[in-house]
């Protein structure tokens, strides 16, 4: 996973609440962007981001969509409203955002599964209060765009007007993102604790191991 430390970029405004993962990564029959092959790798998915809003059926760009407008087409930060990433658990939603160059999303709240998926892929989800987000939206939604800086070490967002907005993030996620940590490797170092737990659990709840599908 690519570490996230600090980032300065044009921020794209997307002032819609409850954007769900079907919006972010539309399903095959819906999306104008057909995958090159079924099971395309994570890096091949950039064009699929917001595909229904972003492309016509013939894959030509829809100029009214913000990510098709310079300089927002270069944005690495997205500022949006409540409950971003609700709905389906599809991690393609995170991969497609990364694929199109988004590394940080600022919103008042996120869908729970999407939030976790972001943290495990080096895409920083920043929760700010509704008023802070509204202020940022107004500042970045200008012709020519405006720069926003996100600093994960200091846990703060600096707006185009030099306003500073502090954000909270779980220390576990922060450490993982800053280091670009391979979480599975870290967990596997606790193999003894897992083993010990499982032996005890099998004694306490013997019917679990004794049932289930045939092996």
């Amino acid at each position: 996973m690519q570490p996230f430390v600090t980032l300065t970029s044009v921020a794209a405004p997307l002032a819609i609440a409850n954007i769900n993962t079907d919006d972010i990564f539309p399903a095959p029959a819906t999306s104008p962007i057909k995958l090159g092959r079924a099971g395309a790798s994570r890096d091949e998915l950039g064009k699929n981001a917001f595909a229904v809003w972003r492309w016509n059926a013939d894959e030509t760009p829809r100029p009214e969509f913000v990510l098709n407008q310079p300089p927002f087409d270069q944005a690495a930060i997205l500022v949006t409203l409540d409950n971003f990433g609700c709905g389906s658990s599809r991690e393609m939603a995170v991969w497609t955002l990364l694929g199109t160059g988004i590394r940080c999303i600022i919103a008042p709240s996120f869908g729970d599964i999407f939030y976790g998926n972001c943290c495990k892929n080096g895409l920083l989800p920043v929760r700010l209060g509704g008023e802070d987000v509204a202020a940022l939206l107004a500042l970045v939604d200008v012709p020519g765009g405006a720069l926003v800086t996100v600093d994960l070490t200091a846990q703060q967002v600096t707006g185009p007007d030099d306003s500073v907005h502090r954000f909270e993030i779980e220390p576990y996620h922060r450490t993982m993102l800053l280091a670009g940590l391979d979480e599975i490797a870290a967990t596997l170092q606790r193999a003894d604790a897992i083993e010990h737990f499982e032996q005890d659990y099998d004694r306490r709840r013997p019917w679990v191991a004794a049932s289930g599908p045939p092996t």
Binding site: A27, A38, S89, D112
Partner: protein
């Protein structure tokens, strides 16, 4: 301190707690399907990591399978590739797999409970948001991403923080013609599509006690549409009776031990929840969505709301956008809205009880001219059971298509979608923009209500059909 059901199951699975409260949590079991698992297996292969406990997994293909025809030539290459990858990955790792040709194949959230794979007290995950369904058994069940699935397959654990707790108490009984789906929609309207974010919802009260396991699954399935990763119902005699004798359920002494433990899985007296809601189920009528979020729900006897009446500017914006997408005007009676398509099925409402409810409405009737209607059973065993009762004949005689099991038209998958600008009465769980196809307009409702819409060609209060 008295604990909630969710806390009891959580505590039972904590291996380690990190300084910030994040836990290393043991996962008992996981389900996988073709759509979100292949990248996890690919990543395991690259890192040369084995699957830690193959026996903890149940696999079946559901999302990208054709439901109109199972002959090999009906399969498109994209979905065939995914189904074959699932076959191969299960074979390579010794994972139990119900393949496409198997009579038990179906939607994972229907198959897991049906096979007795889902049990009370378990931590159970799947890379699908509707894993909340399994909480109907008093399991702590939640959807995860593909990277998390890789973590589970490699370590049989997850790193997680406990959700906050919410209880939704529903007084009953529900009136005739009112089902768990109506309750789910009313619940989401009440707490909002993000009202459950960060929470696990426990459902309690006399209306919940009286629900069948099917009804409880419908309700917990929709918990995620209120933003909650998990729904929970404390296990009781209804739960044990459902599980007794299922193929993968414990037997003999193991069953007795299990039931003795399961009886202790109840929120303790005096436990406090971070949030509480109460609904009067006795006053509830059939519900239907008008917009593009499940929270856009009204009683079927009501009208499309006016954005000018919205509680705040952001909601008014969202309502305007939804009305434009849905091509509806404020003040239009829901019962005047005509439909083109009717879709009965999915992990929300694709079980035997749902198909019975639909068949009861259409028995002796014909679907309205110009309406295309189909029923997609949630699993092969649901389909067989419905056919044993002759429900397929009732539905076919009325003009419904009788499909093979899978997710089908629930989302714009590989084979079925609602056309651009078409309106669909659907028993699925998401009325999002473009969810059932590009430009598709979805109205969520119960199977009985969807059947009534098929018969009249418009959204209809099923109680009026008698």
């Amino acid at each position: 301190m008295p604990r909630t059901l969710q806390q009891m199951i959580w505590d039972d699975h904590v291996i380690d707690t990190y300084p910030d409260g994040t836990c290393l949590l043991a996962v008992d079991r996981q389900m996988i399907y073709e759509g979100t698992s292949f990248q996890a297996f690919e990543a395991l292969k690259i890192s040369k990591r084995p699957v830690r406990r193959p026996a903890a997994t149940l696999a079946t293909p559901d999302h990208m399978v054709p439901t109109h025809d199972r002959s090999p030539q009906a399969m498109r290459s994209g979905s065939r590739h995914l189904v074959e990858a699932l076959d191969r990955n299960c074979r390579d790792h010794g994972i139990f797999h119900i393949p496409l040709e198997d009579r038990r194949q179906g939607i994972v959230h229907v198959v897991g409970p049906e096979q007795g794979f889902t049990l009370p007290g378990l931590v159970l995950v799947c890379a699908d948001s509707h894993t909340s369904t399994h909480g109907a058994f008093g399991a702590l069940a939640f959807g995860i991403g593909t990277t998390e699935l890789e973590h589970v397959l490699a370590t049989q654990t997850l790193t997680q923080r406990p959700s906050r707790s919410m209880r939704v108490t529903v007084d009953g009984p529900l009136a005739p013609g009112v089902f768990a789906k109506d309750l789910a929609l009313a619940m989401i309207a009440e707490i909002g599509a993000s009202g459950g974010n960060g929470h696990a919802i426990e459902f309690a009260g006399s209306a919940i006690d009286a629900l069948s396991m099917e009804g409880r699954m419908t309700l917990c399935n929709m918990a995620v549409e209120a933003g909650s990763r998990s729904g929970l119902v404390a296990p009781d005699e209804t739960t044990f009776a459902y599980l007794d004798g299922r193929p993968f359920a414990p037997v003999g002494t193991a069953w007795d031990q299990a039931v003795a433990y399961w009886r202790t899985l109840r929120t303790e007296d005096g436990a406090t929840f971070d949030a509480e809601h109460r609904l009067d189920g006795t006053a509830l009528g059939p519900q239907v969505t008008w917009g593009t979020s499940p929270e856009h729900t009204v009683g079927v006897d009501r009208a499309v709301p006016d954005p000018d009446d919205a509680p705040d500017a952001q909601t008014a914006d969202a309502w305007r956008r939804a009305l434009e997408y849905m091509d509806l005007r404020p003040g239009t009676a829901m019962a005047d809205v005509a439909v083109d398509r009717v879709f009965i099925g999915t992990c929300t409402n694709g079980r035997l009880e749902d198909i019975r409810a639909a068949a009861a409405v259409v028995r002796g009737r014909r679907i309205a001219p110009g309406v295309h209607a189909m029923v997609t059973p949630g699993s092969g065993l649901v389909r067989e059971a419905a056919e044993r009762e002759g429900l397929d004949v009732v539905l076919r005689d009325a003009g419904f298509e009788w499909r093979l099991p899978g997710c089908s038209m629930c989302f714009g998958g590989a084979y079925d979608s609602v056309g651009d600008g078409q309106r669909c009465a659907s028993t699925s769980n998401r009325n999002f923009e473009n969810r059932q196809g590009r430009g598709a307009r979805t109205h969520l409702m119960s199977p009985a209500m969807a059947a009534a819409a098929a018969v009249t060609g418009r959204i209809t209060d099923v109680r009026e059909l008698g």
